[in-house]
């Protein structure tokens, strides 16, 4: 019984949150890795792209709510999501037309594009704060829990509860659907294959008659979808605050690099590696150990390796450790 209680505590505070957070990071990292693989630069504006997508979705959610439209037990934000994606796609295509296209025509070095993307980042950052403000926004509605901790206790008779939030299940299910669609698109469709070809060998892709401007446009649209979905899922699960999204850039980049930049499978693996390490390193294991150890050995401290304030340090530590042993990431990514 004690072992089951320990397992329930672990699932409730470590496994489920880490899987959820990992899915969100994986979606974010997929966007970063797509841009790196196809447009060949690290996009520092990705966190703020996520913020913009989430903000647009929130605005549509509010509008729908004001009209009395709801999605039953599911959050209204899911209905607003396609509109958020469309708005973000327009923003990214516009940014590409106004900013990136110019540098592409000059065949600017990747490092210049990185700095350019930082400029874009600041503008998007300001745009989002200007429209929705810098404060926390909670936009989750519908049923909050699938199983609440109390229900779980009465249902199983265990002394520990396991809460399963709607947002967590939605996150994982949506992430699986999005990733499956993305891989199907890249592997099976003509456009998807042409994107991989362009990423693999730009000159040969041109010789084969692949239109680079089309590849770039489709990439931005995919990135808009990935970033908006990742941002909305994160916002539903926690809350939306522009600054938090800007900060998400760090674990997202760590995920993409750990997995191998430019490799979509790696981005997913990297997302989970970073999420699990962040959550396990900052979790206080006292409650789990209480059930597993004899009373006399019960830990007096929290058994927390690091305070949650240091969670970003974990991403970087993992990043450095992986890169020391595998410079192109866990999966073979492109070396810079």
């Amino acid at each position: 019984m004690d072992a089951i209680n320990a397992l329930v505590v672990l699932a409730n505070f470590v496994l489920i949150p880490a899987v959820t957070y990992g899915s969100q990071l994986a979606l974010g990292a997929l966007g970063v890795t797509l841009i790196y693989g196809i447009l060949r630069f690290s996009n520092f504006a990705h966190g703020d792209t996520m913020a913009f997508g989430t903000m647009t979705t929130i605005l549509f959610t509010w509008w729908f709510q004001s009209m009395g439209i709801s999605f039953g037990p599911l959050p209204t934000a899911l209905l607003a999501l396609p509109f958020g994606i469309a708005g973000t796609a327009l923003l990214l295509l516009g940014t590409d037309r106004v900013v990136y296209k110019f540098y592409r025509a000059q065949k600017a070095a990747p490092v210049i594009l990185v700095i350019v993307s930082m400029g874009v980042m600041f503008i998007m950052n300001g745009l989002v704060r200007f429209i929705i403000g810098p404060d926390d926004q909670n936009f989750l509605d519908g049923e909050r829990f699938i199983i609440s901790a109390r229900d779980f206790k009465t249902l199983t008779g265990l002394s520990e509860g396991l809460a399963l939030k709607t947002s967590q299940v939605i996150t994982v299910v949506t992430a699986i659907i999005v990733v499956a669609l993305l891989f199907w698109f890249l592997q099976k469709t003509r456009t998807g294959k042409s994107m991989r070809a362009y990423s693999d060998n730009e000159d040969l892709a041109l010789l084969s008659g692949i239109n680079p401007e089309r590849v770039v446009a489709v990439t931005w649209i995919l990135v808009a979808a990935l970033a908006t979905v990742a941002g909305v899922l994160y916002g539903l699960d926690k809350s939306f605050k522009p600054f938090t999204y800007f900060q998400l850039l760090l674990p997202i980049f760590a995920s993409a690099i750990v997995g191998g930049l430019g490799n979509p499978l790696g981005a997913i693996a990297g997302g989970f590696v970073i999420a699990f390490s962040e959550v396990t390193v900052t979790y206080a294991f006292k409650k789990v150990l209480k059930y597993l150890m004899p009373e006399s050995l019960e830990p007096s401290g929290l058994v927390q390796l690091m305070s949650t304030d240091y969670k970003f340090a974990v991403s970087f530590a993992i990043l450095i450790i992986v890169l020391l042993f595998k410079p192109t990431g866990l999966f073979k990514g492109q070396s810079v």
């Binding site: 294959k193 693999d200 040969l204 041109l206």
Partner: protein
């Protein structure tokens, strides 16, 4: 009149100095023309000029009588020219079959027949069609590269040192395949380091020196020419 001709081409890369000087390369329909010459003679440059990859300020390129001097390389692909670069000529992360599909990207019709023809020409590719092309051996990669270019059903196939870096046995095999392609009615223009073998299969040979035509004749005549033998074929 030659099917494909780069006539009196003079020019170089970007704003740099001229590399080609009044250089003429021509090939008749269904024939094999080979460009040979010492290192730095401008062999690859001449071929790239024919394909539109560098600017020629004097001279013209004509395909089947049509002036294509101002067309981009991509537009020339659409006109029926296939080009196999010397290096980076395959999509390494994609399967053999996907490489062929990408070769046919411009085509909107059914490509299965062309793909079957490529597999008939290179049976080993059919065996490995689901394998990433980057995992193949050097000779097999060259077959993928040639196969990719054939997927557009080109009228002219241009090969930049197709046998660079492959073993002599594989080289002979590649030359056999190239002859087979030519017999199917596809005009071939190629640059070769292995001058002797290349001239043996060539209907027409061009020896370039410092961006100029030095000798132009049939492959056999060049092989028989004592001066060409002494200077370029090692006796």
């Amino acid at each position: 009149m030659a099917f494909l001709i780069g006539d009196g081409m003079t020019g170089g890369y970007g704003a740099g100095p001229d590399i080609l000087h009044d250089c003429t390369i021509a090939v008749d329909k269904g024939e094999i023309a080979v460009i040979v010459g010492p290192n730095g003679a401008g062999k690859s440059t001449a071929m790239k000029a024919v394909f539109g990859m560098l600017n020629i300020h004097t001279g013209a390129v004509r395909l089947d009588g049509e002036d294509i001097t101002s067309l981009s390389p991509q537009a020339r692909v659409a006109k029926g020219m296939g080009f196999v670069p010397q290096t980076h000529n395959i999509f390494t992360s994609m399967t053999v079959e996907e490489n062929l599909e990408m070769g046919a990207f411009l085509r909107r019709d059914e490509i299965a027949d062309t793909m079957a023809q490529v597999y008939d020409l290179f049976p080993i590719l059919k065996e490995k069609r689901m394998q990433p092309a980057g995992e193949l051996s050097g000779g097999q990669r060259q077959q993928v590269a040639v196969g990719r270019a054939l997927m557009t059903q080109p009228k002219v196939l241009m090969l930049d040192e197709p046998t660079a870096g492959v073993s002599p046995i594989v080289m002979d095999e590649l030359f056999d395949r190239i002859i087979e392609v030519a017999r199917a009615g596809i005009t071939i223009l190629m640059v070769e380091q292995n001058a002797r073998q290349a001239l043996e299969i060539a209907d027409k040979g061009y020896v370039l020196v410092q961006g100029r035509n030095r000798f132009s004749d049939t492959g056999k005549a060049l092989m028989a020419d004592p001066e060409v033998r002494r200077s370029f074929l090692g006796g």
